[in-house]
Amino acid sequence: MAPLLCIEKLRVTFRTRYGEVTALDSISMHVNEGETLGVVGESGCGKSITALATMGLIPSPPGRIADGSIQLAGEELIGANSARLRKLRGGDIAMIFQEPMTSLNPVFTVGDQIAEAITLHQNVSADRAFTDAVALLDRVGIPSPDRRARDYPHQLSGGMRQRVMIAMAVSCRPKVLIADEPTTALDVTVQAQIFDLLNEIQRDFGAAIILITHDMGAISEMADRVAVMYAGRVIEEGSADSILDQPQHPYARGLIDCIPTLGRAERTLKEIPGVVPPLHLLGAGCAFAERCAFNDRARCTTEKPRLIDHGHHPAACHGVEESRL
C-alpha cells in the first residue's frame, strides 16, 4: 500500500540578503495511516519548513518550492490551486503549533472557534457545530466543557489552550495531523498529558501524526518511525527502535547521547561541539563535517553523503558508507 503522505525530493529555497539559500535540500519522508513519524533535529534544520510546505503555507516570496512532490493519498499537493489547499487545511491535514495563543483568535470564545472550523469543512448547522465543539472539548479532557466552551483563550491555562488546538485540529477527522513542537512551552506534567492525548486520538481517529521535536525522549515515547534532519537534509531515517538502538550517523548518535537521563548520572555528557552552520555557509561537503569526530575522509569536506541503507536503516554519512564507524 502506498504511504498516506509521501514527500519526495522536496527542495525549498529562500531569497535572503546572502542570495538564494536552500532550506530543504531534496528531502524525502513518508508517513503511513495510523502511524506516528517523529521528525527530530536541532533548531534551524528545516523541521517547520517541512511542515509548512506540506500545509501549503511556505511564505512566498521569499520562499519557493523549487522542486519535488508532496502527495496525500495519491493527490499531488504541489501546484494544487489555493481553493483546494484551503479545503485540505483543517480538513484532511491539520496542524498544531508550539504556541497555541498565536493560532487562536483572542476575541472569540474557544467553543465558537472550534464550531467555526467545523462549519467550514462540514455541512452542519451552527447549533450542531457548537454541540460537537463541546463534545470535542470533553474528548480532549477539558473539565466542564459546557462552561469552558464559552471562555476566551486568555482565560485558559497553556495546557488547556493546547488541548483546544488539538480539539480544533481533530474536529474534521484529519488524515494527517502535524504537531510542531506542541509541548515546548509546557510543564513536563502537561506535556505528558498532551502526548497521552495524541496517542489516544490516534487510536480513536486513526490519524497519521507527524511529531516535530528536538527531544529524543519524546521520540522514544511517541514515534513509530523517525526522520533525523540536519541543515535542511534528512540524514537518517528508519524505525524508532532501529534508530534509537543503532543510530548510524554520528549526529543521530550525538542527539541520543547528549541528553542527561533520569538514571544514574554519568559525570560528563557527550557533547556535540559547535553549532548548526547557517544555510548560506553550507559548502560542498557534509554539513556536519566540522562538528564531527569522524571527519577524517577527504570526501567529508568535498562531497555530500547520500542517504543509503548500509544494513540497519538509511543514513547519509561517508564514514558509515565505508563502514569504518
Binding site: T36, E42, S43, G141, P143, S157, G158, G159, D187, V188, T189, Q191, A192, Q193, F195, D196, N199, H214, D215, M216, G217, A218, S220, E221, M222, A223, D224, S239, A240, D241, L244, G254, L255, I256, C258, I259, P260, T261, L262, G263, R264, A265, R267, T268, L269, K270, E271, I272, P273, V275
Partner: protein, 323 residues
C-alpha cells in the same frame, strides 16, 4: 561539609491590587514557609510546575525579592537582617544566570564591557586588573580572546549563555543561582553548557541553587533536590534517593511524566501515573494538602490537615501516606 546557605521558614507574599475600594488587600503567598540548606561545593536542584514558586524562593534567598518572613543564613549571617549598605557589600558573593541568554545581555554593549561591568559597579581592582580578569574568564568559559570586542547578536545562543556565565563569575561569587539556564538551548548546546557548569563547580568550588523543570538535567548537575508544589517543598532528598525511590505522589508523577529513552512506543508502555487537572490557585490554597485534589492516594485526612515535612531515611517528605 560546611554549610553555605541555610534557609529557614522563608515566606514571600505579594500584595495584589484591591478588588474594590473598601475590600481588604488580597495577598498571594508564593513561598510558604520553605526551609532548605546548601553545602559548599554542592548543587541543590529546585523542581516543580510553573508557578510553584521556584524563582521566587531563589530570589528571596538572595534578597532580590523581599521576604515576608524567615531567615536566610549565608555563611552564618542572616541576609534578611543586613542593612542595605551591608547587603551591597555582600552582593559580590552571589550571582545569577537566567534562562534567556538573548534578553539578559545588553544588545548595544560589547561583550568585554558586559563581562567587566559588575567589577566596575562594585569598584573591584584597577582597570588593568579588571581587563585581565575578563580575558581570564573568557578562556575559562570556552570563548576566544578575539571575540572580546563583538556584540551579543554576533554569538550563538550557547555562546551567549557562556557570556552570562563569565559575567556572573567576575566577582568570584560563592553562590550561583541558575534559573532554567539551559531551557532555551538546543539539546546539543545544552550538553555543552551543562558540562561547563559542572566543571566550574568543581574547579572553583561553587555552590548552585539550580532551578530547572528538566529532571534529567537536575539529576546530572545536582547532588540534592527539592520538589516544590504551590509554594511549599513537598519532598527534599539527595538525588539518588529521590530519583530511585520517590516518596511523594507528586514526585512520582513528575518522574513518570518526564520523557525518557527507556519508554518505547513499540513496547507499548503505559504511563504508570497520570496527573490530571492543574494545581490549585495560590490565591485560595486548600485547607489540607495542596496536592490532595490531584492525588491518587488522597483520603479525608489529606483534605483536612496539611502534612508537615518529616524524615524518612535520607528523604524529607510532606505527605500523610508517603512511599
Amino acid at each position: 561539609m560546611t554549610r553555605l546557605l541555610e534557609v529557614r521558614d522563608l515566606t514571600v507574599q505579594f500584595a495584589l491590587p484591591r478588588p474594590g475600594l473598601f475590600a481588604p488587600k488580597p495577598y498571594l503567598e508564593a513561598v510558604r514557609s520553605v526551609s532548605f540548606s546548601l553545602e559548599k561545593g554542592r548543587a541543590l536542584g529546585i523542581v516543580g510546575e510553573s508557578g510553584s514558586g521556584k524563582t521566587t524562593t531563589a530570589m528571596a534567598a538572595i534578597r532580590l525579592t523581599a521576604a515576608s518572613g524567615g531567615q536566610v543564613l549565608f555563611e552564618g549571617s542572616d541576609l534578611l537582617k543586613l542593612s542595605d549598605e551591608e547587603m551591597r557589600r555582600r552582593r559580590r558573593d552571589v550571582a545569577l544566570i537566567f534562562q534567556d541568554p538573548y534578553s539578559s545581555l545588553n544588545p548595544r554593549a560589547r561583550v568585554t564591557d558586559i563581562v567587566r561591568e559588575p567589577m566596575d559597579l562594585m569598584g573591584i581592582g584597577t582597570r588593568e586588573e579588571r581587563q585581565a580578569r575578563v580575558v581570564e574568564l573568557f578562556e575559562l568559559v570556552g570563548l576566544r580572546p578575539d571575540q572580546l570586542n563583538l556584540f551579543p547578536h554576533q554569538f550563538s545562543g550557547g555562546q551567549r549563555q557562556r557570556i552570562s556565565i563569565a559575567r556572573a563569575l567576575t566577582t568570584n561569587p560563592r553562590l550561583l543561582v541558575c534559573d532554567e539556564p539551559v531551557s532555551a538551548l538546543d539539546v546539543a548546546i545544552q550538553a555543552q553548557i551543562l558540562n561547563l557548569l559542572d566543571r566550574l563547580k568543581a574547579e572553583l568550588g561553587l555552590s548552585y541553587l539550580f532551578i530547572s523543570h528538566d529532571l534529567g538535567v537536575v539529576r546530572h548537575i545536582c547532588e540534592d533536590v527539592a520538589v516544590m508544589y504551590l509554594g511549599k517543598i513537598v519532598e527534599a532528598a539527595p538525588c539518588e534517593a529521590l530519583f530511585d525511590a520517590p516518596q511523594h505522589p507528586y514526585t512520582q508523577a513528575l518522574l513518570s511524566a518526564a520523557p525518557s529513552l527507556a519508554r518505547r512506543k513499540s513496547k507499548g508502555y503505559v504511563r504508570p501515573l497520570k496527573l490530571t487537572g492543574d494545581p490549585p490557585s495560590p490565591l485560595n490554597p486548600p485547607k489540607g494538602c495542596a496536592f490532595a485534589e490531584r492525588c491518587p492516594k488522597a483520603q479525608d485526612l489529606c483534605r483536612q490537615t496539611q502534612p508537615e515535612l518529616s524524615v524518612r531515611g535520607a528523604t524529607h517528605v510532606a505527605c500523610h501516606f508517603p512511599g
